[in-house]
Symmetry: D3
Subunit: 285 residues, 6 copies
Amino acid sequence: MLKKNVETFLGCDADYDEARLVIFGAPFDSTTSYRPGARFASRVMRAESYGLETYSPYQNLDVTDYKIFDGGDLELCFGDTELALGDITRLAEKILGDEKIPVMLGGEHLVTLGAIRAAVKKFPTLAVIHFDAHADLRDDYLGAKLSHATVMRRTYDLVGDGKIFQFGIRSGDRAEFLFAENHTRLKKFDFGGLEKVCAEVGGLPIYLTIDLDVLDPAVFPGTGTPEAGGVNFLQLLHAALKVIRSCDVVALDLVELSPPYDPSGISTATALKILREILLALSSK
Amino acid sequence: MLKKNVETFLGCDADYDEARLVIFGAPFDSTTSYRPGARFASRVMRAESYGLETYSPYQNLDVTDYKIFDGGDLELCFGDTELALGDITRLAEKILGDEKIPVMLGGEHLVTLGAIRAAVKKFPTLAVIHFDAHADLRDDYLGAKLSHATVMRRTYDLVGDGKIFQFGIRSGDRAEFLFAENHTRLKKFDFGGLEKVCAEVGGLPIYLTIDLDVLDPAVFPGTGTPEAGGVNFLQLLHAALKVIRSCDVVALDLVELSPPYDPSGISTATALKILREILLALSSK
Amino acid sequence: MLKKNVETFLGCDADYDEARLVIFGAPFDSTTSYRPGARFASRVMRAESYGLETYSPYQNLDVTDYKIFDGGDLELCFGDTELALGDITRLAEKILGDEKIPVMLGGEHLVTLGAIRAAVKKFPTLAVIHFDAHADLRDDYLGAKLSHATVMRRTYDLVGDGKIFQFGIRSGDRAEFLFAENHTRLKKFDFGGLEKVCAEVGGLPIYLTIDLDVLDPAVFPGTGTPEAGGVNFLQLLHAALKVIRSCDVVALDLVELSPPYDPSGISTATALKILREILLALSSK
Amino acid sequence: MLKKNVETFLGCDADYDEARLVIFGAPFDSTTSYRPGARFASRVMRAESYGLETYSPYQNLDVTDYKIFDGGDLELCFGDTELALGDITRLAEKILGDEKIPVMLGGEHLVTLGAIRAAVKKFPTLAVIHFDAHADLRDDYLGAKLSHATVMRRTYDLVGDGKIFQFGIRSGDRAEFLFAENHTRLKKFDFGGLEKVCAEVGGLPIYLTIDLDVLDPAVFPGTGTPEAGGVNFLQLLHAALKVIRSCDVVALDLVELSPPYDPSGISTATALKILREILLALSSK
Amino acid sequence: MLKKNVETFLGCDADYDEARLVIFGAPFDSTTSYRPGARFASRVMRAESYGLETYSPYQNLDVTDYKIFDGGDLELCFGDTELALGDITRLAEKILGDEKIPVMLGGEHLVTLGAIRAAVKKFPTLAVIHFDAHADLRDDYLGAKLSHATVMRRTYDLVGDGKIFQFGIRSGDRAEFLFAENHTRLKKFDFGGLEKVCAEVGGLPIYLTIDLDVLDPAVFPGTGTPEAGGVNFLQLLHAALKVIRSCDVVALDLVELSPPYDPSGISTATALKILREILLALSSK
Amino acid sequence: MLKKNVETFLGCDADYDEARLVIFGAPFDSTTSYRPGARFASRVMRAESYGLETYSPYQNLDVTDYKIFDGGDLELCFGDTELALGDITRLAEKILGDEKIPVMLGGEHLVTLGAIRAAVKKFPTLAVIHFDAHADLRDDYLGAKLSHATVMRRTYDLVGDGKIFQFGIRSGDRAEFLFAENHTRLKKFDFGGLEKVCAEVGGLPIYLTIDLDVLDPAVFPGTGTPEAGGVNFLQLLHAALKVIRSCDVVALDLVELSPPYDPSGISTATALKILREILLALSSK
């Protein structure tokens, strides 16, 4: 008898019970104010992963040697933000409750809030390491409290002063940078000081959120709001591996890939390679 | 002294006070579940109108002979649907209150609800003539009551039985078609019976809403949910002119152009020509 | 416990055992001489089917009311044509052996030969109804006997004189049209005479192969070799339903959708609607 | 010894001396005011002709049976219009002087003026049959006398009253349509009356200029200024064959294909098929 | 009463009288010999500026704190180069005459000549700092004296020996590089020696012309003639700020963005960020 | 009498007999498993070379000063790999037999095998220098021995242990990297050690094969399988010049440009510039 068509990120075909890492997609971009499309990211990443090797020459590790589960994409409501965030939170709670690590693929950056709500509930001392081109610290955006542009501010409401560590930031309004001076740790433009931060937060549970637009638009054109002057692939790779290897990462996400703005597919290919390396670093720990 | 850069739909450069027709854009597509992009329609239409003649060989009329005001686009909140609809309603009320005819450029189809709320307040006997590929009669969509897929149902909640006249419909779930049998007048696939409907509703104030995906995807590929088997340009043109000439149209809209799915620009060019003909028909009445 | 990610054509989520129709993809375009890309068709159709309703207003039927199985895509070898065809034949034999109807999604037109080899083995009197812009009757193409341009000639080698019925043909070299005069029944440009053919072949098992480029490029631009002057959507829809309703269709395929040449997505949407209608017509018989 | 790479429109590989038809490209679009790109048309047509059969099922004729020469593209100056037109005129004069028929591939429509200057010099009674969406009868355009929008007016200056026959026109300003009433014969929207015109001009030498945007944008999206409501492929095909078969065509052109606006390539494919049929009709006369 | 739709580059909504900087667009690319499209740059930059913050983390300055006027785009004649240049010169003269700094957005590089003609009239000792991939020093191009490829040669005709300083040049014919050896100061490939040049020209009025193709195609793919091996964003940013801060810049331009070759939009986003930083550096001086 | 249209890579218009370098295209991508399109590379490179200068500021040399012959493209069979490779081998043998250097433009990487078969026959001690992102050392791929993914393994079968020198490799399965440890010299990620290798192989005839995906996707997005983390343009340029200047290069190729994934054209432009520099370095030796 033939079997149904199962589609997973490359090599991630473990059953849920045996897996320590759980991938899921959060295809939502309803608050994106400028160029939508991040909703397609997880679907396209899964399809395009066919072109990626499971073996990493960077870490000399292979995805097929580990147990990783891919649960596919949530079906999220467009137009009712709280409804969508609720669905994300419920799934993240289930995964965390089963002592597994959720690896969420956005969607726009607001989906991070759904997962952080779950993580902070289980880990009240949660700290957040945040790679991004944008500060995302607005208090509201065009009147909305829940927005891709406010997600780190809402996260701040949950985790409080000194618990958010931001790197690569090169865009925001003046008020956001002022807010950061008093309430978060923000490194402009690059990953300077990351090593020190990792040492400091060693004892805390860490949520790692990677807005892929931290990358330079040259290598990552497929995103809603490209910002010239970003980091390159190897810089992001090394920064992510640094965090995973030296901190207690309990959950993470990759957000803001927008495939419609990526006709050559290099942004998706780059996101996939970052994801592969992250999965390997987490699995081999 | 140099003047600021004013951008309007071609030839529509009257002042507000002297105009009878008022164009405005409603760049919102936050509830679009499939392929977003309608948010860009009004902006792109205004820019591309440079390639269109003001003169119509169909009606032997010229836009420059009439007073039409173009107020530009609303700045709408993404992610909070009621907030966005409220802004649309307020502007439509202002225009209707000044005894002018609002001509709204979407955006997704849900923006129509914002304008109809204003129209039904001023004209309690309002009837709605609806050209579309989709019935849009769902009661909710993925849990949301306000959605592009529910807009005619919400309109029904406002205008009641027998006041919605639907043409060209070729997509929906079974429940929508059953609902239509009892509560609206729905003609599948084409404009058959339009003349009779126009005669019937002659005495009522009419809101005309044109979802441009009623057109065949061949001539109108740039839309969120293309449905093969639609009407052609001339059929839509004649249907729209028929309604305008024989009914008391108090407000209208053109929705669901999605420029990102229109690399050749023919969808935008077609939408512009329909708009030009509508403006001329309304103005010369 | 969470379940793995199953992706099927919309609503086709029956188990294999209970299904009468079995969908599978044959992502192969290795012999395409001009513009490759048909290899992506089945994958893209499955993904984009999310935008299609399960209900048909044409037939007043719903896909969710029937048991249809979608087995996903074969993994076919590029560069070794016989290897790829062998895999297709084996799967089609399995499905036919289980008394089910294979519904194959190409890929280029050569994949049809793989399925016909299976069908003619089980049904030695098999006749073939062929909708296409191209005759595909060359004896070889640039030295290759197995090619998208020779598929009907190779089919002829299997089924013999007078068993191939071709419609819509508007491209080929002179020799192909001469061959057709003596060995197949070929109607140029449209479906004229289809009704008569259906009556004639009533008693025979029928393989229906639909090269979607029989459609006019206006509505179906996304194909390897677009040929102006084709049929429209409704003509193809009615022709396909005519064959299914009046003949004993034992297997069928849809081929030559090439998504990379379809930036607006209307070709995929049209192919999906044809597929939905075919599934409904076969299921409700 | 290996030979240099010769590239010609399919099958048109005769030497100049033996050919009766001479193809050349005029890659110029410097006056295009809206969307440039027609400069690429002849080059892309030549490259894409690889995907076209030499045999026509419409006329049962084959290009390989006739002697046609393809001289490649002129290298024209951008930014100095008279310089470019002069080069076109000189080449057309050479071809006409050798008693051959020039078949020019644009480029924007202004290139027609270069060829007509040559034709009217050799044939002082020249009449012009003009298929187009646009009247092109402006006297100047943004201050320029030489423009794609003035080409028929400049032609009028050369051939005079009653010698220009325009079909398919559906765009222009009011003054152009008024000018046409007095000075040309203009049929709006379609080819109505073409048969009668062909009868009338039977004795005159004819220049046939086909602006391909006379076609509906559905089948011909790749053009600078698409105008909804055009003719379809078969209507244009039959009109062109009618003129060629019943008139004394001494020169012709195909203009305004703009490949950058044609990502699917259907416009180029359609232009190529029209060209093939024209070459066959002229050759077999 | 509603106001007309005013569209400006982000935050640049001062009235003309109060502004020190005056932005205007010169949408002209008629002499572009290879890939046209720069005509769309100013329009697209204005529209896309919606996605850019007004605040710069590089300079800790905000556009909204300064008075900048955006006059929109000139309507330039295509096909008559001198006519177009004349319109540019007249506007630049007006702005310079009012003791303001013109900031011109191209268009192809030839538009620079229009502005330099005005600048050299007011400032007879004008020197020109030129960032570009191309030398643009040809004496004529395909017979035309006025061309994007000759613009620095025509500028040389106006300002004379030793007054043009070229940086980043990596393309040209041999004669251009020989000409530069004797008549301009040309640094190949990068900005080496810029600091020294700025010191030297300290006393002179400076026209700064930035052909954005000086950037590497990786970060700036959307240009007519991309040349591998360019500078990166930060290098250009620092070079531009260096000139503005240490020289007396009396006029400047940004040219050769070609949005049609920039489907991801990163070129436009990069151009906008350069423009923002330039406006801030000029304003805060 | 007019001459036929000859199209060559820029400036390469020598006759075969007088040329030392012979360019030809091998438009084949039939085994490409992921994203086809490399078949179009040579054709597009030839057409786009119009936008490139013949003069190199890197080497101060000009293509027009040398005798280079461009033979156009082979017409290769799709779907029968051995047939295609045979055609390539025959042409390469002819060129090598005439004591000329073949410069082959792919196509996918498998075409290299065709040329190496010819080279190794003439030069039994042939060594291969290989720039690539991928190891290409699989023994078979989806059952096929001849594949883009096995080309260096098949080359190994011909040249044996220690004769293949691989640089820039950053993708492959584990077995490939293990194979390389024992049988080839493989440098991961970059060109480290190239100088030493050049010294070592000084006495041997060298085949240089450049898979352009060794470049970072930022500057070379147009390829079938983009791999983040590659070398930049100048690194590749200097590595190629190093090999040509210090080794006895008897044949070379550039493969895996895939124009359909390069909408901005920067990949083609970069490939052209690499080709120009290689032709100049070889010619001036």
